[in-house]
């Protein structure tokens, strides 16, 4: 194709329509605005050659034609929590189809990381575990069946990670996504994990890898000895394997049930002031000592991507004093005094709850759970259906559509 001087100089740049390639508009302006002397003209001259030898990238033209609804469908939907997404299936047939697509679920599991609320269980009666979902915002985050009735038996929820839950029935472990109601029963482990197993679910959605595998890591005391062993399940191989690593430094190996995983490390609380940490990749255990002076109502949590221990105390009225300890050394990073909830004359017992992917400190007090956002210094509160007391588990949850992948049979 030859560009003669005549073609572009006669081009009417006013009346261009969407179908003509961008090339012509650019061309006429390049030649008419001769400004900075010979060098610039030479630039334009060189550009004419460029036009002749290379095609104007068509994918750039196509992007320019995109309408807002296409850009929203492609780029905004993955940031929405599962409940909002499921609601928006009713927007149009195209959205209905796209939202059901595994590719979108995969993108959403990676992009939507915000903290959505708590799965909580009242463990007071063995045969009657009441399971609920306390949502931070009911119009955007939720699950079809918080009681997890889609599972084949009644379960206790032990750990949560990136939208997946690890549960246990009378014997078997289950991993499920309560938003999609997808679930899988795990094979039985080789070792005995104890009555209340200290297990952590590890799952990190990967943008590039649509098949992101999850792990379940159990820390269990060797019977009769102050040694902790570890057994790891991988969804990639669908098998359990015992780690060769052991932890012998633990003073009081009485592990509390459950566990949580963050940045490659699984953490298990004990009945004393120690926390057992296990680096999953290199299989190395470590002990973290929690600050001595804190009471038993603090919690390990994640803040700004780091491991923290938060303790809170209701000083007087509705004033709370919050201490935040950070990192493996548990150094006191910050102390804040904040008013939470309605004013009152009496103090109340309070409990710190864990959080993920949030800069907030969560404190349960009375009938509410208060979230104090550190950076914005704002408080958000939700009603807590449970009254204060022991035996109630709160597991932080992210409303993601993460899919459970398993090894396909050859």
């Amino acid at each position: 194709m030859e560009f003669s001087q005549a073609d572009y100089m006669n081009d009417d740049s006013e009346g261009w329509d969407d179908n003509s390639p961008t090339i012509f508009k650019g061309f006429s302006s390049a030649i008419t605005t001769q400004r900075h002397g010979l060098e610039k003209l030479a630039d334009y001259g060189f550009k004419i050659d460029a036009y002749q030898n290379h095609e104007f990238p068509t994918h750039i033209i196509r992007e320019g034609d995109k309408k807002i609804k296409d850009v929203v469908k492609e780029h905004v939907l993955p940031f929405l929590p599962a409940k909002s997404l499921m609601r928006f299936k009713a927007v149009s047939k195209e959205w209905d189809k796209w939202i059901a697509c595994p590719l979108l679920s995969h993108q959403q599991s990676f992009s939507c990381k915000s903290f959505s609320g708590y799965f909580c269980q009242d463990m007071k009666m063995e045969w009657d575990t009441e399971t609920m979902f306390l949502s931070l915002d009911h119009s955007t985050s939720g699950v079809p069946c918080p009681a997890l009735d889609f599972l084949p038996e009644v379960v206790k929820i032990l750990s949560s990670c990136s939208g997946l839950l690890l549960c246990q029935g009378s014997e078997k472990y289950y991993v499920c996504n309560p938003a999609s109601q997808d679930w899988k029963m795990l094979p039985l482990p080789q070792c005995y994990h104890g009555e209340e197993p200290a297990v952590a679910l590890a799952f990190e959605p990967s943008l590039r890898n649509i098949e992101a595998y999850y792990h379940v890591i159990c820390a269990f005391p060797m019977l009769g000895q102050p040694i902790i062993g570890f057994e790891i399940y991988s969804s990639e191989s669908n098998t359990w394997s015992c780690s060769s690593a052991y932890c012998t430094d633990i003073e009081n190996p009485r592990l509390v049930g459950g566990g949580f995983y963050m940045n490659g490390v699984a953490y298990y609380e004990t009945k004393s002031n120690e926390v057992l940490a296990f680096d999953v990749k290199v299989e190395i255990p470590a002990i973290i000592s929690l600050p001595d002076q804190v009471g038993r109502h603090g919690s390990l949590t994640q803040m700004e991507g780091e491991l923290c221990y938060v303790a809170a105390n209701n000083e007087c009225g509705n004033v709370f004093l919050i201490d935040i300890y950070q990192g493996m050394e548990m150094i006191l990073k910050r102390t804040v005094s904040v008013t939470l909830g309605p004013d009152r004359s009496f103090t109340q017992a309070c409990k710190v709850l864990p959080c993920v992917n949030s800069d907030a400190v969560a404190i349960q007090s009375g009938q509410y759970i208060h979230f104090y956002h550190i950076s914005e210094q704002k408080v958000e509160s939700i009603a807590s259906s449970f009254t204060m007391g022991h035996g109630k588990k709160f597991l932080p949850y992210t409303n993601s559509l993460a899919m459970l992948h398993e090894l396909k049979e050859p």
């Binding site: 929203v72 149009s92 939507c112 931070l136 009603a383």
Partner: protein, 166 residues
């Protein structure tokens, strides 16, 4: 004409909006846009952007300039800038996200889309159709079926109590 060995002459580009207004910008900053980067590699120095109006282009240049000077120490500063940047009307955001998509500025696309998501996540189906101009192509029966299948997603649930001016 000879430049001293101490100062590097920064290569400048000219970006031109759909309204033919021109803006000079350092090449090192402008290549945050994948589209502009491609064109620079093809030796363009005047970059026509017929899909981006002047007002939107000014905002985009502001964003690129701020993010172009990112260092380890001013992370909080940039975070604050980003927070303020998305406090715009839906109309402005729509123009910005279309332009950011066209210009292929990944960080800006993510920032704007997260902001969009936060603003639309609690809206009704009807509101979404209106905001983005999406026609309803369901028949009444089909629409009722989609609602029924995901009934839980259309339920409001309990209101949460907010003690602060959030």
């Amino acid at each position: 004409m000879a430049s001293s060995s101490k100062t590097e002459q920064k290569k400048m580009l000219i970006l031109k909006s759909s309204e033919e207004e021109e803006f000079e910008i350092e090449e090192s900053i402008a290549v945050q846009s994948g589209t502009i980067k491609n064109m620079v590699e093809d030796d363009f120095t005047l970059i026509p952007l017929p899909n981006v109006d002047t007002e939107t282009l000014i905002k985009i240049i502001k964003y690129m300039k701020k993010h172009g000077e990112k260092t380890k120490s001013n992370e909080k500063d940039i975070e604050e800038f980003d927070k303020e940047f998305v406090k715009k009307s839906f109309t402005e955001l729509k123009e910005l996200v279309l332009a950011a998509n066209y210009l292929h500025i990944t960080s800006l696309i993510d920032l704007l889309c997260q902001a969009f998501a936060d603003r639309i996540k609690n809206k009704s189906v009807k509101a979404i159709r209106e905001i983005f101009g999406i026609p309803n192509d369901f028949t009444p029966e089909e629409e009722a079926e989609v609602y029924e299948q995901h009934k839980w997603a259309h339920e409001e649930g309990k209101e949460h109590i907010d003690h602060s001016a959030y």
